[in-house]
């Protein structure tokens, strides 16, 4: 299937949940927030939130700013 993650295409058949997507980028220990098709995914539901072909995912975090 084809995901769009932070604006970039990701072709994958191994990633089925948000948690697996975060593991793919080794982000399990990072403080990140995930949006799927414009809706925020609750942190406690990463493992149970499925991903499907065409999903648009945003992975965001805090950076320096004023």
């Amino acid at each position: 299937m084809l995901l769009r993650v932070n604006g970039k295409e990701l072709h994958t058949n191994e990633i089925h949940t948000v948690q697996e997507l975060l593991a793919h980028y080794q982000l399990q220990q990072k403080i990140v927030v995930v949006e799927k098709n414009g809706d925020i995914v609750d942190r406690t539901l990463f493992a149970s939130t499925p991903l499907a072909d065409g999903d648009r995912i945003e992975i965001v975090h805090f950076v320096g700013g004023g």
């Binding site: 604006g7 403080i31 805090f62 004023g66």
Partner: protein, 257 residues
Amino acid sequence: MVDRWKIGNVEFGSRLLLGTGKFADLDVQSRAVEVSETEILTFAVRRLDLDNPHAENFLERLDLKRFTLLPNTAGAYTAEEAVRIARLARASGLCDMIKVEVIGDPKTLLPDPIGTLEASKQLVEEGFTVLAYTSDDPILAKRLQEVGVHAVMPGASPIGSGQGIINEHYLRFIIEDATVPVIIDAGIGSPADAARAMELGADGVLLNTAVALAEDPVKMAEAMKWGVIAGRLGYLAGRIPKKRYASASSPTEGMIE
């Protein structure tokens, strides 16, 4: 001196809020934050760079029990974008404060008053503790308070300009009528500017570039700490009125003849 203050339900000792952008070096930044004695740090919300996801991040260095995080909605040009960023920030589970920043023009980075008001109203309704970055317009400050913001943050001058306070008169109007804390945000260039803002009666000062891009950010962070403290004490002490002519400090009686 016990001179604590509150934003929403959270109480603070320090009246200096520090931004975390533009620092060239994370070690220098850590020391600057330490000596500033700030308790509130601002952050921006951005996409993680998936090509470099493990780049060191300042937030990860912080003892989050010691600081209140104040994420901003910087980058938003509409109320909708600001609300989206605010919700993402809160979903981190780290904070429910938000600095509403809806920009109306890329050159001046002055806030869009209508977008700022709309986003602030929405976020207050959603239970955020809302600190609204605004211009020095006293009427807008009033309208923001009417929709329930927890602090108004008028700019001293354009973001990052270092011009200091360019409309002291209107800032005074905002401060005099405010029912929530007033934090002078943006444009502060020097410790004198920070002290001046506090002397006007502001409850706090938020600055970033003045420290981050100073030749010695650590020294400047300490200078800003003292600037804010000096200005606050001066305000509380009540300055003398200005006179046109001199008034001798030494007795005019008892002169030696």
